[in-house]
Subunit: 268 residues, 2 copies
Amino acid sequence: MVVGAGRLGGALALALSAKRWPVRVWARSEEARRRVRDWGLGLATEKDIASARVCLLCVPDKAVSPAAEEWKPRLARGAALVHCAGALSLEALGAPRGRVLGSFHPLVAVSDARDSLAGNSVALSTRSRWLREVLERMAKDVGLHALRVKERQRAAYHAGAVLSAGGVVAALSAAVEALRVAGISEEEALAALLPLTRSALRGVEARGLAAGYTGPIARGDAEVVAAHLAALPPDAAAVYRPLSLRGLSLVGHRLPAEALARLKTILD
Amino acid sequence: MVVGAGRLGGALALALSAKRWPVRVWARSEEARRRVRDWGLGLATEKDIASARVCLLCVPDKAVSPAAEEWKPRLARGAALVHCAGALSLEALGAPRGRVLGSFHPLVAVSDARDSLAGNSVALSTRSRWLREVLERMAKDVGLHALRVKERQRAAYHAGAVLSAGGVVAALSAAVEALRVAGISEEEALAALLPLTRSALRGVEARGLAAGYTGPIARGDAEVVAAHLAALPPDAAAVYRPLSLRGLSLVGHRLPAEALARLKTILD
């Protein structure tokens, strides 16, 4: 059973239902209930709730703990309670008191419930072997690659997800700031830079991080790096510097010792 | 005339030729000359060189200055000399001595000469009105959006281009490092994170930087940010921290004052 008829709840419910999983969706508001009917899915009745084997909470992070408290008494004894929030540990579901708990966090920005989830990954976490097998089967059926994430490593995992989305946007915003200094508007800068960023990502996809990393650091060109730092406003330089050091850790081993030393001096 | 039959030289020559510009390509090695013939383009003869109006140097950055010295005496008096290197000022072409100089730097990673340049941007720089008009017409004909970059702003412009390509790859490598700490291999991490990064870029394309920036900073969730910093290894935290501060400058104005102050304390 899926609780919540938002974009993620809808996408999971549709994908599982298409693979003949017996899905029912619980939605509170009349608007959400109408969405569920529009998707051609069944709304959860009291009987469905009492007989559900797995209850997937697809609600905003802040609603997970209250929803867990609300749902625990309504579910059958053996039913598992699972949240879909990347940032939250299993503790967000409250004390287990004999109930099997888990987390199922698809690494995907769902912009419409009808979007396909296939080709993305999902982070799974649970202490129950039975639930892990169920969640892995779910993942496989909807085309998600399952990653097992241990509870004590969840924060690092989630920080990585955040770095790859918001973090990349922040790096891009420093790039746009640099172009603003050169008299180019945000709109023109994004139109110019987004294709570059995308081609860099294709390079990483094809050749990995170290070989896909390009630019003056990769060429060991300390003069260009020094000119960049001199030209950037402080807030963009504050991003350029650590990202360059990070790049240096990717490619430093293949640079001549002298270039490596000069770059370190400039960047430190 | 295009000097150099590498990927960029080939792509420009093919695109200009398709729009009926009278293009000839000069290539030194027999292998490069064969490539030019394979593309169906004409090789430059001595007569072509003497009658060329614009000479585009499509050579590696380090070869620009020697190539300029080599070509200046061979070209007609009124012919313009133009390089295609983003990092280099016009000074890389040496003293003008009456010759019109310029730079034409397409913001695009060309992986094959037959790739289309259309939809990307190009940074133009020249002190000559005549040459600027020619370069703008070239840009328009091959589908490149022309950005005018002043010489004294070139380093900032180029730093932005580098941030949007290598810088983004460096941010992604910190994300992969975070997932490594969570027991996930580089290969699995990239497969999981690249779709997230791409969807974040689509968000920026559709809604701009500030609205396309997502994650705990955008939600004002200081607790999650503190947990991330505690969980990350120092080298990944050294990237996470400045990128988060940069994100905060994008969205801080829409956060409650208390959340903003807490985030600043954690990140500073």
